[in-house]
C-alpha cells in the first residue's frame, strides 16, 4: 500500500463533495407520526399524555358535566330546594319502575301512604302499588327565579299531577333531598374553586418573592409558612370563622369562608413555587434576561412561571378536594355556611347523630356526591401531574 503524496504546501486540499442536494434527515427518516410528536408544542404533548390517563379523562368529563349542571340547577331539580311538603316528612326514597303488572308504562313511581303509628309515634310510609304516578319530563312544576333574574317553572322532570317524586327521600321539613343536593352543588363546587384561586395567587406571590429574592425576604416568608403549618388547620378555620359576625348575610359568609379556606391553604403551593424558583433562577436564560435589563416581575412572570405552571395547576387541582371537605367539616360544626344557603356540608349537618343513621339513612345521601367529586378531583390531579412533565 502506498501513501499518496501530500499536496504541495499552499495548494487546496482535494476532497470529495457529493453533488446531491443536502438532506439532514437522510440517515434517520422520521415517520409522519414521529414528526408530529417531535414538532408538537409542550402544551400539546401534555394534552396527549393526559389523554392516555383514562381515569383522569373520565374524571375530567364527570367534573365538567357537574360544573355545567350548576348553571341549570333550577331546571334540573324536580322541586325548589325550599318547597316543604308537610304531609311527607322523612319520607323514604321512591324507586323508579318501568313495568306495572307486567305492562310497560314508562318510568313511574308508586304512591306512598302515610300513617302515624300512635304507639311508637313513628311516621310509617307504605308503598301503594295501586297508585301509579308516571314521571313527567320537560314539564311545569315549582316556580323559581332562574339565576335570580327571571321567573320560570319549567323543569327537566316533575312528579305526576297529584303525586310525589322523592327519589332520595325527604328531610325533617319534607323537602326533597335530591333537589337540595342539586342546588347544594352550586355552593359546594364553587367554594373549592374560589378558595383554590385565592390560595393559588397567594402561593404564587409569596413563593415567587421568597424564591426569587432569597435572603431576608425568603427567611421571613419561610417563618410565616412554618407558623401557619405548625397550627392544626381546623382550629384555625374555627377561630377565623368565629370572627364572622352573626349579622352577616349568608352570601357574605360564603365569600368569607372561601377567603378563610384560601388564606390557610396557600403555604403548600408557596413552598412548591419557592423550591422550583430556587432551582430555575440559576439557569443561564435567567442570567441572560437579567443582563439584558429585564425587571424581576418580567423575569418571574415571563421566563420562570411558565416553566412550572403545569406543576402548579396539578397541585392546585389536588388542593380543591381538601377545601370541599373543609367546607363540610366547618358546616358540620355549625360554623360554616348557614341555611337558607344550601351546600352539601349544610345538608350533612342534618345527619349528625346516630339516630338519623338508623332511622333515616337517606339523609346521608349528600355524602355520595362529596365522595365522588373528591375522588374525581384526585384522579384528575394525578393525571395532570403525570402530564405536567411530558418529556419524561
Amino acid at each position: 500500500m502506498t501513501i499518496p503524496p501530500l499536496p504541495a504546501p499552499g495548494s487546496p486540499l482535494e476532497h470529495y463533495v457529493s453533488g446531491k442536494p443536502f438532506d439532514p434527515k437522510s440517515i434517520e427518516r422520521l415517520s409522519p407520526a414521529q414528526e408530529r410528536v417531535y414538532l408538537a408544542s409542550q402544551w400539546r404533548l401534555m394534552w396527549w399524555k393526559f389523554l392516555r390517563h383514562r381515569i383522569a379523562v373520565v374524571s375530567g368529563v364527570f367534573l365538567a358535566v357537574l360544573y355545567a349542571s350548576i348553571l341549570f340547577c333550577e331546571f334540573l331539580a324536580p322541586y325548589h330546594y325550599q318547597t316543604r311538603n308537610i304531609d311527607r316528612i322523612y319520607a323514604p326514597p321512591q324507586s323508579v319502575h318501568l313495568f306495572h303488572n307486567g305492562r310497560f308504562v314508562g318510568p313511574f313511581v308508586y304512591g306512598q301512604t302515610y300513617t302515624l303509628n300512635m304507639t311508637t309515634l313513628k311516621r310509617e310510609y307504605t308503598r301503594d302499588t295501586e297508585a301509579v304516578y308516571p314521571i313527567r319530563f320537560f314539564c311545569r312544576g315549582d316556580s323559581y327565579k332562574f339565576w335570580g333574574l327571571f321567573e320560570s317553572d319549567v323543569h327537566l322532570i316533575c312528579p305526576a299531577k297529584g303525586g310525589t317524586l322523592f327519589l332520595l327521600g325527604t328531610d325533617r321539613l319534607g323537602r326533597d333531598v335530591l333537589s337540595r343536593i342539586i342546588y347544594g352543588a352550586r355552593v359546594s363546587l364553587t367554594i373549592g374553586l374560589l378558595g383554590v384561586t385565592i390560595s393559588f395567587f397567594l402561593g404564587l406571590i409569596f413563593g415567587g418573592l421568597a424564591g426569587y429574592y432569597g435572603g431576608v425576604v425568603d427567611l421571613v416568608i419561610q417563618r410565616i409558612i412554618e407558623v401557619l403549618q405548625s397550627l392544626p388547620t381546623i382550629p384555625l378555620w374555627l377561630a377565623l370563622a368565629a370572627i364572622m359576625p352573626v349579622t352577616w348575610s349568608p352570601m357574605v359568609v360564603y365569600f368569607a369562608i372561601t377567603l378563610i379556606l384560601g388564606l390557610i391553604d396557600w403555604t403548600g403551593l408557596a413552598r412548591a413555587v419557592r423550591s422550583k424558583l430556587l432551582s430555575l433562577r440559576e439557569e443561564d436564560y435567567v442570567l441572560a434576561a437579567q443582563l439584558m435589563g429585564a425587571s424581576p416581575v418580567r423575569i418571574i412572570s415571563r421566563h420562570l412561571v411558565p416553566g412550572f405552571m403545569s406543576h402548579l395547576i396539578a397541585s392546585a387541582t389536588l388542593a380543591i378536594p381538601s377545601m370541599i371537605l373543609g367546607e363540610t367539616a366547618l358546616s358540620f360544626l355549625g360554623l360554616g355556611l348557614r341555611p337558607p344557603i344550601t351546600s352539601w356540608g349544610v345538608l350533612l349537618t342534618e345527619a349528625q347523630n346516630i339516630n338519623i343513621v338508623a332511622l333515616y339513612p337517606w339523609l346521608l345521601a349528600p355524602a355520595i356526591p362529596v365522595i365522588l367529586v373528591v375522588l374525581a378531583f384526585n384522579f384528575l390531579g394525578d393525571g395532570l401531574r403525570d402530564a405536567a412533565d411530558p418529556y419524561k
Binding site: E226, P232, L364
Partner: protein, 332 residues
C-alpha cells in the same frame, strides 16, 4: 453538626414568637369577650346580671388592659409554666388539659402506629407492582379513604359497632369507668373502645402515606443503581429493602414533625362525633365560647410540639442521610 443544631434551635425562637402573636391576634379578633357571651347566656336564662360583678371579673382577669399588655403577660406567664385560667371550667388550663392529654397521646400514637403498619406494606406493594390490578385497587381504596368525610365514617362505624358488637356508643371507655382513676379494667375497656376512633382518624393519613411511599419508592426503583443491583443478582429483598426503600424514606423522616397537628386536627371532629374524652373537643368548645386562655395556650402547646417535631426530624435527616448538607447554601 453541633453548630447546626444550635442554629436550628435559635431559629425556633422567632418562629414561636410569631406563632404566639398570631394565636393571640386570632383569639382577640372576635368581637366581645368571654364575659359578654357569659352575660348574654345568663340573660337568656332569665337570670339577673350583676354588672358590677362582671366588671370586677373583667378587671380581675386583666381584660381592662390594652391587648398588647395582656399579650406580654400571657407570654411571660407561659414561659414560667402558667398557662392561664379557663373561664368556662373554672380551672387552671394546665390541670384541665393535663387530665385529658394521656388519652389524646394514646389515641394519637395508636393511630400513627396503625397508619405505618398498614401503609408501608401496601405502599411497597403498589410501587413494585406498578399499574397492576392490585396497585389500581389499593390506590382506589386509599383515595376512598381520603374522600369520605371522616365524621361521617365515624357515625356509620359507630352505628355498625352498636348493631353488630353491641359496643356502647361513643366515648373511649365503658360508662362506668368515666371519671374513675386508672385501673386494669379501665385500661382494657379503653383498648376495646379505641379501634373505631383509631381506624377513622388513621384512614385519611394512611391513604396519603401510601401514595407518598409509592411515589418515592418508584423514583428510586427507576434509578440505575437499583437496576445494577438486580442485574448483579442481588437478593430481591436486599435490592428492594436495603437500598431503594432506605433512600426513599427521607420524606418519611422529614414528615414526622408534621404528623402531630395532622392527627390532632383530624381527630377533633371525629372526637366530637364519638364524644371522646380527648383534647380535641375541649379545644373546639373553647374556641366557640371564646374561652381564650384555654384555646390560646392549647394552640401554643400544639405549635411548640410541632416545632420540636420539625427540629427532631431535621436533625434525624442530617444524621441519617449523608447527602444532606448542613451548610444551608445550596450548590450554585
Amino acid at each position: 453538626m453541633l453548630l447546626y443544631i444550635v442554629r436550628r434551635i435559635l431559629i425556633m425562637i422567632p418562629t414561636l414568637l410569631l406563632t404566639s402573636a398570631l394565636v393571640f391576634t386570632i383569639m382577640e379578633l372576635p368581637p366581645g369577650d368571654y364575659f359578654e357571651s357569659y352575660m348574654a347566656e345568663l340573660q337568656a336564662q332569665g337570670e339577673g346580671v350583676d354588672k358590677a360583678k362582671v366588671e370586677f371579673l373583667r378587671r380581675e382577669y386583666g381584660f381592662d388592659k390594652h391587648p398588647v399588655e395582656r399579650y406580654v403577660i400571657w407570654l411571660t406567664g407561659m414561659l414560667q409554666g402558667d398557662f392561664g385560667y379557663s373561664f368556662e371550667y373554672q380551672m387552671p388550663v394546665a390541670d384541665l388539659v393535663g387530665s385529658r392529654i394521656f388519652l389524646t397521646v394514646l389515641v394519637s400514637f395508636a393511630t400513627i402506629l396503625l397508619t405505618w403498619i398498614i401503609a408501608f406494606p401496601i405502599g411497597i406493594y403498589s410501587a413494585t407492582h406498578q399499574y397492576s390490578w392490585g396497585d389500581y385497587g389499593l390506590t382506589f381504596l386509599g383515595l376512598l379513604g381520603i374522600a369520605v368525610p371522616n365524621f361521617l365514617l365515624a357515625l356509620i362505624l359507630m352505628y355498625l359497632a352498636n348493631v353488630w358488637f353491641g359496643t356502647s356508643i361513643g366515648h373511649l371507655m365503658a360508662p362506668e369507668y368515666i371519671d374513675q382513676p386508672m385501673s386494669w379494667g379501665k385500661f382494657v375497656s379503653i383498648l376495646s373502645h379505641m379501634w373505631i376512633p383509631v381506624i377513622v382518624i388513621g384512614l385519611a393519613g394512611t391513604a396519603s402515606m401510601i401514595r407518598k411511599i409509592r411515589a418515592n419508592l418508584l423514583d428510586e426503583l427507576q434509578k440505575q443503581y437499583t437496576v445494577t443491583a438486580k442485574a448483579k443478582g442481588l437478593h430481591p429483598f436486599k435490592a428492594l429493602v436495603k437500598y431503594p426503600l432506605r433512600s426513599s424514606l427521607n420524606f418519611f423522616i422529614g414528615g414526622i414533625g408534621g404528623i402531630l397537628p395532622e392527627v390532632v386536627s383530624g381527630a377533633e371532629i371525629v372526637a366530637i362525633v364519638l364524644s371522646l374524652e380527648t383534647t380535641g373537643p375541649l379545644l373546639i368548645k373553647a374556641l366557640q365560647s371564646q374561652d381564650m386562655y384555654l384555646a390560646g395556650s392549647f394552640l401554643m402547646f400544639l405549635a411548640l410540639l410541632t416545632v420540636i417535631g420539625v427540629l427532631i426530624s431535621d436533625i434525624a435527616l442530617a444524621f441519617l442521610d449523608p447527602r444532606i448538607r448542613l451548610q444551608g447554601k445550596s450548590t450554585r
